[in-house]
């Protein structure tokens, strides 16, 4: 059974300026114990998709439709009471900025214990024991003393470890990590990513990794979805996506990364700005920025169709197979990656 299966998810916010279709027609599934990378630029709907999945979108301001199956059970329309039992227990969450997601006036231990007490029938003492255990697990030195410290006494990387501890404390089946390393330095990021890989193997949980960093996705994910303007524009196994991306936006994303080699050359840039979701362009959402735009792109939204190179790989683009192969061939040659092994 799939850990999470999302079908045709739509989230529309009502604003003073009109309706904003933040997520439209998103479908994907997550296998147990696997890692799904979700890439996209700001405003692509990647965070809202998972806020909707967790039932954290306020129904007074948003319309939600579609289906979210968690272990086969429908989550959309479930009662708040039921959702509260699931969040923090079956689904753990890690957010970007650990300073704003931890309570500054409560000790780390208190906050971890609270997470246990809400979901498990244990005494405060047992909860504290569990809190110390999990802090050790996320490699916090002197965990039995640090458990009584406040968030400000921890460094950024340490706080992110506490967030991970909190997400894991009830042995969740799925952990949703929204830009967990974006605020961290590279060396700390490497520590946190290594820690997450180890814990995933140990706890056998599925991870959803929401990020704008293609490097992080490449290192951690099994499957990837690329989002643009609230829609999935490409989805695939991670190796396929990087070896053979099928549509112009993904080409642009890969091309605009400063590579470790290719010194001094110009970066390939995607002209223009991401689309406004208040007033999305007709047809393919990417067409105003696409260098291969055709007439059909301006009027008709391409389907998320399977690639001829495998059913697992799906993408949205009107270009025919031959043209795409030719263009990617040229682009790939420009992105040599020989010395990237450093």
């Amino acid at each position: 059974m799939k850990a999470l299966e999302v079908q045709d998810l739509n989230t529309t916010f009502r604003t003073d300026d009109g309706l904003v279709k933040a997520v439209s027609g998103v479908s994907f599934s997550l296998e147990q114990g696997a890692t799904l990378g979700v890439v996209g630029e700001s405003g692509s709907g990647k965070s809202v998709t998972f806020l909707t999945v967790m039932g954290l979108v306020d129904p007074r301001h948003a319309q939600v439709s579609g289906s979210v199956l968690l272990n086969g059970e429908e989550m959309l329309g479930a009662s708040q009471h039921h959702l509260r039992q699931i969040r923090g227990a079956t689904i753990g969450m890690i957010f970007q900025d650990p300073m704003t997601s931890l309570n500054p006036v409560k000790t780390i231990g208190w906050q971890l214990e609270e997470a246990v007490l809400i979901h498990q029938d244990v005494t405060r003492k047992e909860a504290r024991k569990r809190a110390i255990e999990i802090l050790k697990e996320v490699e916090i030195p002197r965990a039995d003393q640090r458990v009584d410290d406040y968030p400000h006494q921890f460094s950024g990387g340490m706080r992110q470890r506490v967030m991970i501890a909190m997400a894991l404390i009830n042995n969740p089946e799925i952990v949703i990590a929204d830009e967990p390393t974006t605020a961290l330095d590279v060396t700390t990021q490497a520590q946190i990513l290594r820690l997450m890989k180890r814990l995933q193997a140990e706890y056998r949980m599925a991870i959803v990794m929401i990020t704008h960093d293609l490097g992080v996705v490449a290192e951690l994910s099994d499957d990837v979805i690329v989002m643009y303007g609230g829609k999935v524009v490409e989805q695939s196994r991670v190796n396929d996506l990087f070896a053979r991306p099928e549509m112009p936006y993904t080409w642009g994303l890969l091309g605009s990364l400063p590579r470790l080699n290719a010194e001094g050359s110009r970066l390939e840039q995607i002209p223009g700005q991401p689309p406004s979701l208040l007033n999305p362009p007709p047809g393919c959402l990417f067409h105003p920025r696409c260098e291969f735009v055709m007439d059909v792109c301006r009027t008709k939204l391409p389907e998320l169709a399977p690639s001829e190179h495998g059913e697992d790989h799906r993408f949205r683009c009107h270009l025919d197979s031959e043209t795409r192969t030719r263009i990617w061939g040229v682009k790939k040659a420009a992105l040599v990656t020989e010395d990237a092994a450093a």
Binding site: E41, S42, S155, G156, G157, M158, D185, V186, T187, T188, Q189, A190, Q191, L193, R194, H212, D213, L214, G215, V216, V217, A218, E219, V238, N239, F242, G252, L253, L254, G255, S256, L257, P258, R259, L260, A262, E263, G264, R266, L267, E268, Q269, I270, P271, Q273, P274, T337, D339, A340, A341, A342
Partner: protein, 349 residues
């Protein structure tokens, strides 16, 4: 190439005080603690390091937005370390800054035309009509529509705001532009646009950049030479390709190997070095080599006793590193970097 800036022994210490009425100095945060480098005309010097390593403080000292505690800054052969306000104003015509957050660094209540033209007004350049003309041509140069002259910053996206910041920096034809994390707040596709723009402007206007960033790939892309900082000191300086292909300082090596690679096969097969722990507090930095508590090559009795000097470690250009046991080759794995027993005897004396 001629020298534009020479920085020697630059120090910036922030006092830490205790007490409300009678403030007593109880220590100091050594944000920048002895940095030397030379910046040549027309080049881009990239400065990388983790947060808190002092890279922004150093930039602010060079622009004299902060008073240096010690050392000297020579700009075009003139010592500007202790210039007064009025003399400094003249020097400031030749150096401008571009800041990280395009949302915070533009005055939300002023129109774009005013923001971009303000440096011209401050320095009393041109008549009002000439200034307006100049601002419109600047907007065009950075890829904005000159008709947006009367708009406010909130009407622009992040990338466009960063273009406004760049237009403002260009307005008085400076020789040096100090870019402090100019692309960190931008999405990758927009980041590429800004990096390309900065490169084009450098050629067209003969600019010299100090480019500060924490993203090693971005720095490698844009810089001619790169300086790596750790806890207020430069630990390695070198030409870009030398520093990235043959890093000598273990910290540089660790930084390089920590960068995620956007290629699943390469990224997962490489041998990564993951440093333990966090950057120590600059309030009380470690003795001698400041990297020694985290260094995989730490040798007791040497690294914690004898501070290494920034010395020549090879290369055609001046490739400098401050390490007693520099890396012999690259890439290395975590184990290889630790087992340098044979090398110890060879390099220590």
């Amino acid at each position: 190439m001629t020298e534009l800036v020479r920085v020697e022994g630059l120090k910036k210490h922030f006092p830490v005080t205790r007490g409300l009425v009678f403030q007593k100095e109880v220590g100091s945060v050594k944000a920048v603690d002895g940095v030397d480098f030379v910046l040549r005309k027309g080049e881009t010097l990239g400065v990388v390091g983790e947060s808190g390593c002092g890279k922004s403080t150093m930039a602010r000292c060079i622009a004299r937005l902060l008073e240096p505690t010690g050392g000297s800054i020579v700009f075009e052969g003139r010592d500007i370390t202790h210039l007064g306000r009025h003399e400094m104003r003249v020097v400031r015509r030749d150096m401008m800054m571009v800041f990280q957050d395009p949302y915070a660094s533009l005055n939300p209540r002023k129109r774009v035309g005013f923001i971009v033209g303000e440096p011209l007004e401050v320095h009393g350049i041109g008549t009002e009509a000439e200034r307006k003309h100049r601002v419109q041509s600047l907007l065009e140069i950075v890829g904005l529509n000159p008709e947006h002259y009367n708009r406010f910053p909130h009407e622009f996206s992040g990338g466009q705001r960063q273009r406004i910041g760049i237009a403002r920096a260009l307005s008085i034809n400076p020789k040096l532009i100090i870019c402090d994390e100019p692309v960190s707040a931008l999405d990758v596709s927009v980041q590429a646009q800004i990096l390309n723009l900065l490169k084009d402007l450098q050629q067209d206007f003969d600019l010299t950049y100090i480019f500060i960033a924490h993203d090693l790939n971005v720095v490698r892309h844009i810089s001619d030479r790169v300086m790596v900082m750790y806890l207020g000191q430069a630990v390695e300086v070198g030409a870009r390709s030398e520093l990235y292909l043959e890093p000598k300082h273990p910290y540089t090596g660790a930084l390089l190997s920590a960068v995620p690679i956007a290629d699943p096969e390469l990224g997962r097969s490489r041998r990564q070095i993951v440093l333990e722990g966090d950057v120590p507090s600059p309030l009380n930095p470690p003795e001698a080599c400041r990297f020694h508590p985290r260094c995989p090559r730490f040798v007791d009795g040497k690294c914690n006793v004898d501070p290494p000097a920034l010395v020549h470690v090879g290369g055609i250009d001046d490739h400098l590193a401050a390490c007693h046991f520099p890396l012999e080759r690259w890439p290395m794995s975590e184990d290889e970097i630790r087992h340098h027993g044979a090398a110890v005897g060879a390099t220590s004396d």
